[in-house]
């Protein structure tokens, strides 16, 4: 527990989980706290250190989005517009963020909302999580008015009037509200409800190479933006060259005339310093930027850099292998800029015979594994995942089916091959899936299917459709 001094009183500033369970809370007088818990461990608060570590945390959070700002004393703003798809969805991003913080021993509550004020309110006084687009008012209305970030004296005045919830405040006539409590209460209310804009000033790490450009006249045409990005990329690459580094991640920050900001982020699969290539990664996504009344400042930040030394390039024709590999890196970058780095991959063999586990994803530019699956096994080209139940009739217990009904169509089997028994590996624990007997069957129309029975007939094995052969 830490305490700080306000005037002559010593007040609890922060309390650990155990202390909170004992009934202590932030804002309590120290004497009262010590009366509640006799052997209380009390440390003097160090606001400067807190703020420094909050800045460190903000720098760490740049891994999620280029626009991150510390919100003292205990918050972080992260603008995730345009980056959530890299993590799958907003929910997944949030889960990833909180679980990582948890592993570092930081208890955190997070919320995603349309407006920064709403996210602030929901994270601190609501349930956290993702507030769906357009539902901001519903989510905030039931919260306490403390969620509005208004000064303590105004808060108590509102309490005296019997206003406890944001919804009540929002329902009040606007003019008397402003006259009675001042402009800032109305502004905070609008910010929480998403009616008023609130800028987040991004924290740019001092050491990150940056190229920026401010315009005398705001620009907005997409061709102009592309030209500016190319010029900034040139500047940035010259800086990187002097430092002997290349970019792995680039952030493009826009500052609009109306003080709104926007950002784009791209990553590269391999460390890169080619301005034309880096600028091209932004090309597609620039269309998603809404210039509004115009953009007055653009900054390009290499937020993640890695050492890149000059390499000797072989003449074309001599080093064929080398050249094609470098090209693949650029292709992978361009694909990843469209769909995300996780969606560009290669498949590598796994030493397993269970069809669902035969391949694993590896990065697209991983060195060649050289390994392959066993070649003589007949395997389908398309797999039905999960397998679909079929009704089949076999003439004898261990024979392939003679007829089967799949998706309400009856197929008569002409030729068949099997069984091939596939058992799960013992080291994976035989839980769930038992041994399967696979049959390759060809129907009288010529369709070739991969069908399996999940247990011997005597034990009531059922038939499943699992794949399609050529």
């Amino acid at each position: 527990m830490t305490v700080h001094t306000v005037g002559s009183r010593r007040i609890v500033r922060a309390a650990c989980a155990a202390a909170q369970e004992a009934g202590l809370h932030v804002g309590m007088a120290l004497a009262q706290a010590q009366a509640l818990v006799p052997n209380l461990h009390v440390v003097d608060a160090t606001p400067d250190e807190d703020e420094a570590s909050l800045r460190d945390l903000a720098r760490w959070a740049i891994g999620y989005s280029p626009v991150v700002a510390p919100d003292p004393p205990d918050g972080l703003w992260i603008d995730i517009a345009g980056v959530a798809h890299l993590f799958g969805s907003e929910e997944e991003l949030l889960a990833d963020l909180t679980s990582r913080l948890m592993r570092q021993g930081i208890a955190a509550k997070a919320a995603v909302a349309d407006a920064p004020g709403a996210a602030w309110a929901v994270a601190r006084y609501g349930a956290g999580g993702v507030v769906p687009t357009g539902r901001t008012v519903d989510a905030v209305a039931t919260l306490s008015i403390r969620a509005l970030r208004i000064a303590a004296d105004k808060l108590s005045a509102l309490h005296r009037l019997g206003i406890e919830r944001v919804g009540q405040l929002a329902a009040m006539p606007r003019a008397p509200l402003v006259r009675r409590f001042g402009r800032d209460v109305a502004l905070r209310l609008d910010q929480a409800l998403g009616h008023a804009f609130e800028p987040i000033t991004p924290l740019i790490p001092k050491e990150a190479p940056t190229a920026s450009c401010a315009f005398a006249e705001p620009i907005g045409r997409i061709e102009d933006l592309k030209a500016v990005v190319l010029r900034l990329a040139g500047d940035l690459c010259r800086q990187l060259e002097r430092r002997g580094e290349g970019a792995r991640r680039l952030d493009l920050l826009f500052q609009r005339v109306d003080q709104k900001s926007a950002c784009l982020r791209v990553g590269t699969a391999r460390v890169n310093r080619d301005p034309a290539h880096l600028a091209k990664l932004f090309d597609e996504r620039l269309q998603t930027i809404d210039p509004g009344f115009g953009i007055e400042e653009i900054a390009l930040v290499a937020s993640k850099v890695e050492p890149l030394t000059e390499t000797q390039v072989q003449a074309r024709g001599l080093g064929d292998q080398e050249a094609s590999e470098a090209d693949m890196g650029q292709l992978v970058d361009r694909l990843a800029a469209r769909i995300g780095m996780r969606k560009v991959y290669r498949l590598a063999p796994v030493q397993s015979l269970v069809p669902e586990r035969m391949a694993r994803r590896i990065p697209a530019l991983a060195p060649p594994t050289g390994s392959v699956w066993p070649e003589n096994l007949p395997r389908p080209t398309r797999l039905l995942d999960p397998p679909e139940l079929v009704v089949a009739t076999a003439l004898l217990p261990d024979h392939p089916p003679r007829f089967f009904v799949w998706r309400r169509i009856r197929h008569t089997v002409g030729k068949a091959d099997g069984p091939e028994r596939i058992t799960p590996e013992w080291w994976n624990g035989n839980k769930g899936s038992a041994a399967r007997d696979y049959y390759r069957v060809e129907t009288e129309q010529g369709g070739r299917f991969w069908i399996f029975r999940d247990a011997p007939t005597a034990e009531g094995g059922r038939w499943w459709m699992h794949g399609f052969f050529a």
Binding site: M328, I339, R346, A359, T369, W373, R382, R440, A470
Partner: protein, 251 residues
């Protein structure tokens, strides 16, 4: 009447047209290694640096089992890495190995939405180092296919499009015209009869539906082997080519 002068003039004209068309004609086509097909196709094989379209027919055609192996066989016989653009995760990579497509050679790009897939294919076609780009596509308009064809012509990368569908309405889209240089339809055919119970090598009915500079034609072929090569079925190979005989008789 076939006199030598006429033949020469025809050859010269063909040459001029080929020069005008440019692009795909510069690179030597990829032969199938089967005389029956290679002599039928203009240039003696499948044009590289061009867009080819594959359509599955027969049972369970929405899963494109045969077409996948047919396409993988073509990609395997080209030299270099292959980009495979897909939306559904039903591809079974060990199956591609049966056509000789090594897993180290294939880079997959998985799009979440159908409309993202055509830009991905085009992005791949602009990369000279690739051997082929395989795309699994449901909707491909004439304009979109023209874009792909131009991109393929510019770099010499072969575009192989597998048409996929999940509803009957989507299946009808396949009938619409595209700018593909060739359009193939592959259907599973009954495999050869074995003396003992079991399955022989798979057979396909391979139809060339559309081809610039050649007539539509149908073959019964044996599926790709481990090097991606097709074969003529042994019991059909020695039969005389009756269609050619009929044409010869008619002219």
């Amino acid at each position: 009447m076939h006199d030598a002068g006429q033949q020469d003039r025809l050859a010269a004209l063909r040459h001029r047209i080929a020069r005008l068309e440019g692009g795909s004609q510069r690179i030597k086509p990829l032969p199938f290694g089967l005389r029956a097909i290679d002599t039928h196709l203009p240039g003696g094989g499948l044009a590289r640096g061009a867009l080819h379209e594959m359509i599955e027919a027969g049972l369970a055609s929405e899963f494109a089992g045969c077409t996948t192996l047919f396409t993988a066989g073509i990609a395997a016989r080209l030299k270099g890495p292959v980009l495979w653009c897909l939306t559904r995760r039903d591809l079974f990579a060990p199956g591609l190995l049966r056509a000789g497509l090594h897993p180290d050679r294939v880079i997959y790009a998985e799009a979440e939405r159908e409309r993202e897939i055509l830009p991905l294919i085009e992005e791949g076609l602009r990369e000279k180092g690739l051997a082929a780009v395989v795309g699994e596509v449901t909707r491909m308009s004439l304009i979109a296919s023209r874009r792909l064809q131009l991109a393929a012509e510019a770099t010499g990368v072969t575009a192989l499009v597998i048409r996929r569908w999940w509803t009957l309405a989507e299946k009808d889209l396949v009938q619409l015209p595209t700018a593909a240089v060739t359009r193939w339809r592959i259907a599973p055919a009954l495999s050869e009869l074995m003396p003992a119970p079991g399955l022989g090598r798979e057979r396909w009915q391979v139809e060339l539906l559309r081809c610039r500079g050649a007539e539509p034609r149908t073959w019964i072929l044996e599926a790709c082997d481990a090097k991606g090569r097709l074969a003529l079925p042994a019991d059909l190979a020695d039969r005389s080519d009756q269609a050619a005989d009929r044409r010869a008789a008619a002219s």
